[in-house]
Amino acid sequence: MTDIALNTTHGPSRNWGKLALRWLLFTLLGIFALFYLMPLFVMVTTSLKSLEEIRTGSLVAFPREVTFEAWRTAWSGACTGIQCEGLRPYFWNSVILAIPAVAISTILGAINGYVIAQWKFKGANLIFSLMLFGCFIPFQVVLLPMARMLGIMGIAGTIPGLIFVHVIYGIGFTTLFFRNYYVSIPQELVKAAKVDGAGFFRIFWSIFLPLSLPIIVVTVIWQFTQIWNDFLFGVSFSQAGTQPITVALNNIVNSTTGVKEYNVDMAAAIIAALPTLLVYVVAGKYFIRGLTAGSVKG
């Protein structure tokens, strides 16, 4: 249904041209892949080198001697403060922070997008514009008043507080994604369901959610990446014990006057990114599957 790849057939007479095009295509994709992989290459090779080798050799070269010491250190030995337990203790903080925050903001975005795209009422577009513009507020600006608000609400320094902040500033984007997806679904579907007697939530649940897999995946990718990698909110609205992994990563990496261990830094960065990478690999699959399963045609 959504199978729209344009080169469906190959004429024997045009085989050569087709083949050449195909090669060009792969070459291009390969070049892009190299471009995207370059920093990863640097990071991985560096993380496998010893500090000694980094100090003396070229920074962008294969390791002469591979050692996984840096990885071990990053995970469980690097100092992030007076504790030297690596990223491990912070990992869980990030997980229990990111999962509810992503879930809540995605659900809110889905339902907001559904209202704005399919239940248009006067002013809906204005509200949407306000939400969109809200995406542009610099987070540095909101830090201080937000801190005050969190204090007033009594959730300062707690994980629920952080979740709250991420949800608030995630809504704009999640709403945007869903609204733009739902806008292209024919209005007749809602009409048919209304006549069938389904109410607002029923239509959303039974008809729109099943259609939304691709956009849910896009939204989750975005939100998860944003929240998992967020440092500013994490550092400002946490306290000892609730700091997310980025703060720990930052503590490992960012020291001004201490000795720099690039191999550990790189390993830590890659470890900290593993959950997001995992989300991409897993979700990416559903992303395409969702698209091929539910076409938006009746």
């Binding site: 009409k191 007697g197 938006v296």
Partner: protein
């Protein structure tokens, strides 16, 4: 009895464009109302308004004696089949059909039973597990029908529900709908562009043009006594012959004179018509012009006409002649001896004639 559907002074605009203008229609319980009109005249829009899916600009809609103008679609107790099917893309055919029941809390056993029933009626039993994307056009349309048929609403709304079906299936479906109508004594509003559907199903037909009601009446009224030139021309296929003529009083009746090219004017006498203006447009359906000898009756008058074209069409043969500067079609038997370029004696049934004013197109008799 209170009308089941009562539309009063309904106006509907899209932006600044008036799509529906001052619609007034009422139907009694058990009525089968068919909406016809040229493409784009506002039929689907009117159905949408009745269903509450499009806000109306002004006027009121009562369903079952209750003012429903502001009521949401799901509380209007209607079932509707959409012209564009509007199937739920992620649900199987079976779920598409049972969704409405499920929402209304019908128990599973009843759901299954109704589903089987309807699937059989519509001949889609073997498709129940498929997704809409895997169906052919006609199959989709039948699923859309199924979604309405499992319900038992006050009012059914059908928007060209059979347009994608083959003739045979269409006849069967038409019969199913007719049965449904009779068995449930259900009330229906039905859009179609198929004249036969309109004629055989309707108890009442509304002819729309450009958002304005042209005529409301029984199929026979519409067919036999079209209210104006538009209706006359629109209903019936091939269309009614509309021939400019001169009417002059002649004793008890009226003498009708029709010019012909390269021949004497054709003169007929209508004994029923009175008080016609001098210029009229005479309307006569092709089947009311027969081969002489095949039609008898007191109002039948024969005349020789030059045949220009002979078109065999299965059971009938259409012949075309030229009268009053217009092509005139007659419907003859398949075995007619008519030959193009030859004269043929045609019988005109003046008992069936309609007269229209050339200026405003209104019916005169």
């Amino acid at each position: 009895m209170a009308p089941i559907l009562d539309i009063k002074n309904l106006y509907k605009n899209y932006g600044s464009v008036e799509i529906l203008k001052d619609i007034n229609v009422a139907i009694e319980p058990g009525d089968f109302l068919v909406l016809v009109g040229p493409s784009g005249c506002g039929k689907s829009t009117l159905l949408n308004c009745i269903a509450g899916l499009e806000p109306i600009t002004s006027g009121s809609i009562d369903i079952g004696g209750r003012n429903m103008t502001e009521v949401s679609p799901k509380d209007r107790d209607i079932a509707m089949v959409f012209q564009s099917y509007a199937l739920y893309p992620t649900m199987s055919v079976a779920k598409n059909i049972t969704f409405g029941m499920k929402v209304r809390g019908v128990d599973q056993a009843t759901q299954d039973q109704k589903l089987q029933e309807v699937a059989q009626q519509l001949q889609i039993e073997q498709l129940l597990h498929r997704r809409p994307g895997q169906l052919s056009g006609g199959q989709r349309q039948r699923v859309a029908m199924g979604r309405a048929l499992v319900r038992d609403p006050k009012l059914f709304l059908f928007d060209e529900p059979l347009s994608n079906l083959d003739a045979k299936l269409r006849v069967e479906m038409r019969t199913e709908i007719k049965k449904l109508h009779q068995n449930l004594n259900a009330s229906m509003v039905y859009v179609t562009h198929d004249q036969i559907e309109a004629m055989t199903l309707a108890t009442k037909i509304v002819v729309l043009k450009g958002g304005v009601v042209q005529q409301i009446g029984s199929p026979a009224e519409i067919y036999n006594r079209p209210a104006n030139l538009f209706v006359a021309d629109f209903m019936g296929s091939p269309a009614m012959n509309l021939i400019p003529a001169r009417a002059t009083k002649n004793g008890a009746g009226t003498q009708i004179e029709i010019t012909r090219e390269g021949a004497e004017p054709l003169v007929l006498t209508d004994t029923h018509a009175h008080d016609l203006p001098e210029d009229v447009i005479l309307g006569l359906r092709p089947e009311d012009i027969a081969e002489a000898g095949f039609r008898a009756g007191e109002d039948v008058q024969t005349a020789d006409c030059m045949i220009e074209m002979v078109e065999p069409a299965g059971a009938d043969t259409f012949v075309v002649s030229h009268l009053g500067g217009k092509q005139v079609t007659a419907r003859l038997h398949a075995e007619t001896s008519a030959l193009p370029g030859k004269n043929l004696s045609l019988a005109f049934d003046l008992g069936k004639v309609s007269y229209f004013a050339p200026d405003n197109g209104e019916r005169l008799n």
